[in-house]
Symmetry: C2
Subunit: 413 residues, 2 copies
């Protein structure tokens, strides 16, 4: 049985302190968008905390930061158990998304340090660059590059929405490391994260054992119809781009309800000319489709494409689609999920298997190592918002599960 | 039989010349928004043309301009046959909307002048203030005030989208007249206008005999839902304001198709926060409902309200509606419609009875005098657009029908 003790007080204090960097007194929350001055300040703080724990700090060429506590047996070739997440944020974010996973990783290391023992296998804590993708696309970039899914040169050449080059900004803030991304291949990877959804809270469950992660399909749809006078154009002569967008929206809702697993969202929509008595000539909207099963996700994409073909013919409009993002679903490692479940059980924490609806660095690292995730409840399911909240005791519960799993996997020397 | 001859050349030239005032070389079309400097220039030109025809020009307190050709018998108490429309425009408008009706009226007067005869009853040509309602609300303001539907003081106090007071602008451009609006009560009123819709062109019909004008119901609908993460929120826990807007749109289309007479349009729509992976918390859209029958229009409004109540309950959102405009349908004078039809027949012009889908000054004047309208085809049904177009021969045909009707109604002295 695990005799190490998690220092919940320090974990909560570090979450608060990191959360103060980039804080927005007016609008609430904090803004530490990747590779800005505020995010550099966040990185500096996390690196300082790693050094306080006497970890070996390494930074790779895409700016991912790793702090490693070596086992006694590590001849620098041992694959570490890795815990990690990210510390960049969206605009006016909560304090927990990402930061919780990184700082809980440090809390696990601290438990070893405070007990004066070493892990049976090296353990590392990673903070991956630009998970949020607010300034530079794609999101989850640091872990994607790390797992070999995107070349480091291409990533460094990414242009930001502010016109900057990612590589230049990385140099500017002093986080262009020398290590090749992926040089430290994890033996196993665990990511502790807030759920960012309503399920655990709604079901009053303490720990989510994340066994898979939905595939994500994003596309932008442009409907080109004809603008005409709303009072003089008979219904059968209309080419109403706005109505077509609405028809797609109601089709997607029916598809989602029928499927039971597919989620479908139209998050962005604009119409032109946007005048009260003019039939819209143009509608541009995004479709966000998700499903934990690749075949079902493809079915949803196919059915959507088919519907759009039909409705375009009927209404006499032109529909163009542009793929923005496509990630296949990820099935996490079954043994690791079982280990998380067992750890939660030993603590007497109610738990459930679940699917991650959001994307996470773990889905990238799962390409190169066994990986799994632990979720704790999010109040109201709210995230990417200053009102993001998880109770302190829930945060400590999650970190304890992480600690127990790590100790169980690596042993204490 | 009518021996007067319409001077088509002058009519077409005046349409071109008036269309050059406020022309926009870059974006195309012309912009003569009510009571701007460009619209004053347009008024000045029209008044000059009235004076060339030696008409008695009178301006009322809301800026409506009337040019009257008196009959021999007119002791200044005779009610004139009035022709009219407006010369203000929307932004980047065509040259015909409104102007055609005013200048064709002058062409009818010119036919009397060129023949050296007088009408058996006085005839007047009116140009009503602010028909378009771009700068000051409501639209069709000059004719509405003229017909007693809105007090002149209230209209003068209208605030423009640019913060100006209508009455001040009227004084500034020199068109604040002294006559009380409505002082000249028409004996009958005819308005010649481009269709602004596709029906005459689609059916290859030359003359539209407008027997009624749709009722118009405009409302602004605000849907308040909850923003949530698109990837983590199960469908049954969503309160998706964007989907509710879409459901209303598809409901309205079904209603319009089923009804056959009701037209329904969502012309304006915006959603918040308008982020690809966030379920919309808010949707604001407009609904434009039209029907030539008041009972059917009320039915449509009632069914819409009922549907919105149901969908709000189901989705757990709040829906608020705000009435923006409500005009009952107008049935034009049957005898005048018959006279127009007979005139078209005598000329051998194909014609059909029709409903006006758009609002016109004639609907206001119909409150105080028998009124009817004549339509000519609009290419592609396009109006409020630089591409608005009617062929020259079609414009002359319409003006000839107007001339014939006027001669038939008033006689030649």
């Amino acid at each position: 049985m695990n005799t190490l003790k998690l220092n919940g007080e320090v974990l909560l204090r570090q979450l608060r302190e990191l959360g103060e960097i980039g804080a927005d007194a007016q609008a609430g929350g904090r803004t530490r968008i990747a590779l800005t001055d505020d995010e550099k300040a966040g990185r500096d703080r996390v690196v300082a905390w790693m050094r306080e724990l006497d970890l070996e700090v390494r930074i790779d060429r895409i700016g991912n930061v790793f702090g490693t506590l070596r086992s006694g047996a590590d001849d620098e070739a041992q694959r570490p158990l890795m815990m990690g997440s990210h510390i960049d944020t969206v605009r006016n974010a909560g304090a927990l998304d990402g930061c919780y996973g990184v700082l809980a990783g440090l809390a696990v290391v601290r438990a070893f340090r405070e007990a004066g023992v070493k892990p049976g296998r090296s353990i590392a804590v990673g903070a991956f660059t630009n998970e949020e993708g607010v300034r530079y696309q794609p999101d989850m970039m640091g872990s994607l590059v790390y797992a070999g899914g995107l070349g480091v040169e291409a990533a460094l050449d990414a242009r930001g929405i502010d016109g900057t080059r990612l590589g230049d900004e990385l140099v500017r803030i002093g986080y262009a490391g020398e290590m090749e991304p992926g040089a430290i291949v994890p033996h196993e990877y665990f990511e502790l994260h807030i759920e960012q959804g309503p399920i655990l809270e709604a079901e009053n469950v303490r720990i989510g054992v994340v066994e898979n992660l939905q595939g994500i399909s994003w596309q932008r749809v442009t409907v080109q119809g004809n603008a005409n006078h709303a009072g003089t154009t008979p219904t059968h002569l209309r080419h109403d781009a706005g109505w077509v967008a609405a028809a797609v929206s109601t089709f997607l809702r029916a598809l989602a309800v029928e499927s039971g697993t597919t989620l479908a969202t139209i998050g962005m929509l604009s119409i032109e000319p946007n005048v009260i008595n003019v039939i819209p000539r143009k509608a541009v909207f995004t479709v966000d489709l998700r499903d934990p099963d690749e075949q079902r996700l493809r079915d949803a994409e196919r059915r959507l494409a088919q519907f759009m073909g039909e409705v375009a013919r009927k209404e006499g409009v032109k529909i163009e689609t542009e793929r923005l993002v496509r990630f296949e679903p990820v099935v996490f490692d079954a043994a690791l999920a079982q280990a998380i479940e067992a750890a939660a059980e030993r603590r007497g924490f109610s738990n459930r298997r679940m699917t991650s609806g959001a994307g996470h660095d773990a889905q990238m690292i799962a390409r190169i190592a066994p990986a799994a995730m632990i979720f704790v409840p999010s109040r109201g399911g709210i995230s990417h918002n200053p009102r993001e909240h998880t109770d302190d005791d829930q945060l400590i519960d999650g970190a304890n599960v992480l600690l127990d799993v790590v100790v169980e996997r690596v042993g204490v020397a």
